[in-house]
Symmetry: C2
Subunit: 394 residues, 2 copies
Amino acid sequence: MLFHQTGYVSEDPRIEEPRGCGVDRPEDLTDTMDVLIVGTGPAGVIAAAQLSQYPDVNTRMIERRPDRLEIGQADGIQARSVETFQAFGFAEKITQEAYHLREMCFWNPDPTNPQNIVRTGRPADDPHGVSEFPHLIVNQARVLDYFLRSAERGPARITPNYGIEFVNLEIDQDQEYPVAVTVRYAAGEREGEERTVRAKYVFGCDGASSRVRKAIGRTLSGQGAHHAWGVMDVLANTDFPDIRTKCAINSVNGSILLIPREGGLLFRMYVDLGEVPEDDNHEIRKTPVEEIIRRANKIINPYSVDVKSVAWSSVYEVGHRLTDHFDDVDTEDRGTRVPRVFIAGDACHTHSAKAGQGMNVSMQDGWNLGWKLEACSPGARTSPCWTPTPRNVR
Amino acid sequence: MLFHQTGYVSEDPRIEEPRGCGVDRPEDLTDTMDVLIVGTGPAGVIAAAQLSQYPDVNTRMIERRPDRLEIGQADGIQARSVETFQAFGFAEKITQEAYHLREMCFWNPDPTNPQNIVRTGRPADDPHGVSEFPHLIVNQARVLDYFLRSAERGPARITPNYGIEFVNLEIDQDQEYPVAVTVRYAAGEREGEERTVRAKYVFGCDGASSRVRKAIGRTLSGQGAHHAWGVMDVLANTDFPDIRTKCAINSVNGSILLIPREGGLLFRMYVDLGEVPEDDNHEIRKTPVEEIIRRANKIINPYSVDVKSVAWSSVYEVGHRLTDHFDDVDTEDRGTRVPRVFIAGDACHTHSAKAGQGMNVSMQDGWNLGWKLEACSPGARTSPCWTPTPRNVR
C-alpha cells in the first residue's frame, strides 16, 4: 500500500481523504447527478467502488431494499474475482473469512446398486494453478459489504440511498442531464412518494427482472426452458463423507450441488427441482423447505442429512439468457448518438447456479462501466464523452 | 475462521455477540470492577483484547490521554508479534499496510576517507527463516487501533475510558474488591474531579514512569547512563541509496538507525545524541528538530537528506531498566497472599530503541496477564484465584 504521500496518515490508510463531490456529500438523493446506479448487487457496488475514485463525478446509487442484503443469493467467487478484490484492497480480508475451494468430488449412481450413490472422482479444482488467487466460497452479502465500504472510503464517499426504487426513465439528448428518471420511495417517511431526478448516465444493475432494461426496450432471450432449484443454507448432522467438499451429486433420484460454506459448519445444497413447465406460473416457488430436505435425502441415499437449522432457503428458476443490446441506442442509431443508459449483471445476462458464474461476471460488468467512465473523466462531468465503443468490447 | 456455530452470521464474523458484562456495558467507569487496566499502550490493549473473550470478567480500562494515540512512539514488530496478531485475527490486515523488513544494511566509515560512510554489509533479516510470519514496521498507533478493535468486538465489548488518570491505590485484602484506586478526570466535563473505584485486580500498563509501579513501591534499576535519541518521521529528498532499507549507520560523526516506514515514502531516523550527563536535567529534550536534521546530514556524509515534512519528532532518553518485582507482594510475604496489582510493559522493563524490542515484549506481558486471568475464569469474578506463580514464569 502506498500512503503518507502528502503528509502523515494517522488512522486507517484505507480511508482516503474526501475530495470533490465527496466533501459534504448530501445524504439525500440529489435532483441531478452525473451517474445514477440502480441497484446494489455485485455489478452496482463495484461500479460505485470504482467511481468513488473519481470525486469529480457525482455518482448516486439507489436500492429498493430498505437496508443492506443480509443473507442468501450467490456465493461462488472465482480466482479472477479475488484478483479484482485485490485491486480494491480487501482480498486478504475476505479470503480470511471464506471457504477455500481446492478440490471437487463427483458422486454418481452405484453401478451395482443404482439406488445408492458412490464417489467417482475427486479432481483438483485448479490443477494447472492458473491463478495466484484462490477460488472462494463466501456469501454475496459480504462481497457487497466490502465493495460498499470501498465506495464509502473512496474520495467521492459514495453510499447508497436505500428504500428508493426505479420506476421509469426518459431520455432527452438536448438536456444537460439527458436522462429523466422517475423513482419511488419504497420505505421510510416518504414511502409512496414519486420524484423525478436527472442524470447524465444511468447504470441499470437491477437484476434479472430489471426495470431499467425494460425502460430502454431491451429483452432477455435464450434457452427456452427454465430450470428450478431449491437452495438452502443449513446446519445439519450428516453421515455424508464429503460434506466439507464441493460435490456434484447425480443420482437416479435427481441431483444436488453441494457447496460447503464459510465458517466451517454451514453448507449449501442446490437441490434440482427439474425443468419448469411453461404453464407453471411460478407454482414451483411455493415448494416448502421440508420438501427440498426430503428430496435431498432421497438423492444422497444411502446417506442422510438431518437438518437442524435452516439459515436461508429459496426456490428459484433460472435459464441462460442474454440481452439483445447492452445500452439504450437502437441498432439503426448506432454511431449517431451517445448511449446514456447501460445495463449490467443479471439485467443483461443470467446463468445457471451450477457454474457459479453469475456474481463473478456481474462484477466484471460493473468494474468495466466504472473504469470506462474514468477514461473520459473529468470530462464526464461536463460533456457526454462516451462513445458507443465500450458496448462492443463488453 | 470458525463461525455460524449457533446460527447464521450475516455481518462481519469478526464481530462477536456481546455476552455477560458486554451486554449493556456502562459507558462510564463503574464503581467496582474485576480488572482495571491502567494505560492503553501495547501491554494494556492486548490484555483488554484477551480479556474481552471472558465476558464474565468485568474489565475496565483507563487512559490519561483524551483520545487514541495518533502518531509516533514504537514501530518495530517482530515476527513473534505478528504471530500474536494472528491469534487476534488481524495479522493479514496489518501486514498489508506495513513495511516488510527483509534485509538490513550496515554503513561504516570509509577506511580510505573516514569522513565518508560506505556500505559494509547487507545481511538478510531472517536468514534461517525462523518464522512463518514477517518482520514488520508499522506505527504503534495502528497496532493499538487493531487491539482496541479486537477488545471492542469481543463478547465483553471492552472500550477505554479516555481522559482519566491513575493517581494512587491502596490494598485491603479483606474487601471483596481489595484494591481502592484513586483516579482523576484529566479531560472533559469532569476535569479535575477525583474518584475512588474498587477493583479485584489492577494491571499497571502505564509506561516507564508508571504511577502504579510507584504506588506498590517498585523501582526500575539497571544500566547507569541514559542514552539520548533524536527521532523523526520525515518525508524528504535524499541521495542516500538505502533509504528504503533498514540501516545501522556508524560514522565518525555519530550514528543513525534508519527505519523505512509503512506506506512507501516516510522514513524514521533515530539520530544518536550520545550519553546524557547525570546533571543534564532533561535539557537534552529541548534539542530542536533542525539540530537533529543537521546532525543526520553530518553523519551520512557524503550523502544528504533534505527534509520536506516532519510528521513527528521527539527526543528521548532511554536506558535498560528492570523492576525489582512484577507485583505488589513483597519478598517476605511471598506465598502468604494473592497479588492484586501487576505491572507490565515499560512499567517494569525499558529497552534501547535500537533493538526494536520494547513494544514487542510489552505485548507478550499483557497477553500473559490476560490468559492467566482466564486460567481461573470464571472464578476470577467471585474469588481471588490467582496464585503468585504467574510472576515467576514471566
